[in-house]
Amino acid sequence: MQDSALNAPSKPPSTATKLESRRKMGRALLVVCIAYLALLIGQPAGLDVPRIATDIANNPSAIPQQLVTGIANGAIIAIIALGYTLVYGIIELVNFAHSSVFMLGSFTSLLALSFFINKSSNGAISAPFWAALVCFIPAMIVCALLNAGIEKVAYRRLRDAPKLIVLISAIGMDFILQNVGLQLGALGKLPQVSPIFNQLSVMGSNNASPKSFPQIFSNNNLLDAIYPNFPVRVTVADVMVVTVAIVLMVALRWFVQNTRAGKAMRATAQNRNAAMIMGINIDSIITLTFLIGGALAGAAGMMFGLYNGTAVFTMGFTAGLRAFTAAVLGGIGNITGAALGGIIIGIVAAFSDQYLSVRWTNAWVFLILVLVMVFRPTGLLGQEGGEKA
């Protein structure tokens, strides 16, 4: 009786392999067609192969340079994407408010750094190196608490509601936080009220305008040590961003794989009810996930501010869009996938700027996403059912 299910009649082997090979051929033909169309009509969008070839021949050092830029930008995107992917893995919600938490992390780190700022005579603002390391801590803590607070206020009650409802709640939270960021910018007007607020002048004179970060990392090319005027520029900032990103990713992976709490997180992500039966406190695990996601967003906000030198209340939108794309590209719910997706997007954007067309870079980045989704709907590293890391 039990065996009948195991011995279900199957197609004869030859038909199965014929179907399989036909499907593979169909796929290959589709890829060839798409490539042909892309080359044919991609020219106005920058895909002009002869021009690209001559560009590469004339300026070969642009390739490693864009790789450096792409990997550094991609690292920041990857850290933000980790936040999206963690939350999705646990409660299957795309946390749209994550990008605003990232933006508030950037503002928080700017306010923290304002205590250490030195203004030089020509108006340049800078801060000592150790100040950067110290200021990661308040940024991460504030964002972690903020993210956990958002979960408690906006998502906890809706845990058993339809997914669309929670999504709308997340979008609403995103708008609220954006406006909080906009009003935080108004702190820059306080020095006019009283000199005790003088360090808040770092927030600039207008709510909506971009705020400048102090220059902490020198702009010198590290590779000049090999020989002066080395054609590829790698600065301390690039190295710092990639190092911090790697440290955070390794720490997260260790946490998720090797600790009890991490195991509980994986269990909750796999099957919430079974985890509850096993005695795992779902509420605290979800809060923990949001705390970690928030801390990552805060760290990313600080890294972004130090790397690009600017923070503005709309920065969450662009960065969040790319990070969400990266998370989906790598397989949403998969931590390694988010990191991989981030790097890919960073590199594609950098190379598109260089060789295709700056105006079309956004189009090319999302085209890559669409193609991956068409051929691998679960993302590059995603699997059916969504296994986590």
Partner: protein, 431 residues
């Protein structure tokens, strides 16, 4: 028992929303995120309360009062108020028959950080629907003008629009396909501007660049109406005068950084970079990334980056040495009235006004003169009077409007960032 905290929070939120609705004037925010900023920025400021016994003639202005352009727009609004105060008897004109009421509208939203098409459309529709509205002073951005000129043009009767700052060529002269006819569906003109257009600005900029010894230039624009139009004129002139164009690109104003673009520019080895665009299209970040990539050539811009916000965005050390063109006359060569404008402004509002404030004053002066000449509450008559402005002795000099609505002034001034502020370097006169 249900938590009382929940009810307290709920009633507090409702109370806050109701109070916001009570104070927020009729600005139509394009996105919910704009409501907070919209309520604060869309000020309705009557310059003089309509007195009993006088009919009201309303001036509307539509300027970006949200976002980093706010600082400049506020000086324009102040200049308009000052013009009305100085040139009317407490708002009364035509021996007390009419009283001029001025209302300032905001065409920017917080989420965009700059002018917004739907907001501008709402402002234009509001002005058209108001039977007391006779003059529309606006816009600041050329892209916004493209939205509102047709709306004001198709109203019966049409509403005259006086712009203090639009410089895109196609608004009054042939430029792109179908321009300028497509902004005047009724066939008759209703738009004038007191500032010189970009066909002069772009070509003077190219000649200026060449005169500074620049041989190879990379051109960037912010893909908006004003920026792209200006960069197109610059590119055309550069090719005519033999200035080599190293490349041409459009930047995404919402991007977080431009490092990859800076690497691309560096690879072409230009002597300088020309940027057609406004500060609010992330020009500050662009400059930061260009300098960080090690490109030391001059950064040349135009009136779009000629505001304090640009220096703040880029950082005063990075912005040092940036040069830009502006239509007009150097302050030292202004007529007495012009110099008096600056001293009056400093006395009344404290501090220096930004670059376009004096154009706001001139726009308001033209409007007041037209209303005082016609002495009728008739939009078409006022429109004709504005177009008939000849040999107007204003703060900018003595000038006239031509039949297309352009000013006869064609001077350009060079400006440079020195010591963290914009300073004039002198008139630009090139053949």
């Amino acid at each position: 028992m249900k938590s009382p905290f929940k009810y307290v929070l709920l009633s507090a939120t409702v109370a806050a929303l109701l109070s916001a609705c009570a104070t927020a004037p009729a600005a139509a925010p394009a996105a919910p995120a704009a409501t907070a900023a919209g309520a604060a920025a869309a000020t309705e400021v009557p310059a003089a309360a309509p007195a009993a016994g006088g009919e009201v003639i309303r001036f509307y202005s539509s300027l970006p009062l949200t976002g980093s352009s706010a600082a400049q727009s506020i000086t324009l609004v102040n200049a308009i108020k000052m013009a009305i105060e100085q040139q009317t008897d407490a708002g009364k004109v035509c021996e007390g028959k009419f009283t001029i009421d001025y209302q300032s509208l905001d065409d920017a939203t917080a989420s965009a950080g700059q002018w917004d098409a739907s907001q501008e459309q709402a402002n234009a529709n509001k002005a058209v629907a108001d039977p007391d509205a006779m003059v529309y002073i606006g816009t600041f951005n050329s892209g916004a003008a493209k939205v509102s000129i047709p709306i004001l043009n198709q109203a019966t009767p049409p509403l005259v629009m006086i712009s203090p700052a639009n410089t895109n060529v196609g608004l009054t002269k042939p430029f792109d396909a179908g321009e300028p006819e497509k902004y005047y569906p009724s066939g008759k003109r209703n738009y004038v501007r007191v500032v010189t257009a970009d066909d002069v600005q772009g070509s003077i900029a190219a000649k200026w660049a060449q005169s500074l010894g620049i041989k190879k230039i990379y051109i960037l624009d912010d893909t908006q109406v004003y920026g792209k139009g200006l960069a197109d004129v610059f590119e055309k002139t550069a090719k005519e005068i033999g200035l080599e164009v190293a490349g041409r690109d459009g930047i995404d104003g919402k991007a977080s950084d431009y490092k990859a673009l800076a690497t691309k520019i560096k690879g072409t080895g230009p002597d300088a970079i020309y940027f057609g665009g406004i500060t609010q299209a992330n020009a500050g970040q662009l400059l930061k990334d260009i300098r960080a990539a090690g490109i030391t050539g001059k950064f040349i811009g135009a009136d779009g980056i000629l505001d304090k916000a640009f220096i703040e965005a880029a950082g005063s050390d990075v912005a040092e040495g940036v040069i830009a063109t502006l239509g007009g006359t150097p302050k030292g060569d202004l007529p007495e009235k012009g110099k008096k404008f600056y001293t009056d402004y400093a006395a009344k509002f404290g501090g220096e006004p930004e670059a376009y404030a004096i154009y706001g004053y001139e726009s308001a002066s033209v409007a007041i003169k037209a209303v005082s000449t016609v002495c009728k509450k008739d939009r078409q008559a006022i429109l004709d009077a504005v177009f008939a402005t000849k040999d107007f002795e204003g703060v900018l000099g003595t000038w006239s409007f031509d039949e297309r609505g352009d000013t006869s002034l064609s001077g350009m001034v060079g400006n440079e960032v020195k010591g963290g502020a914009w300073t004039e370097t002198g008139a630009l006169t090139f053949k």
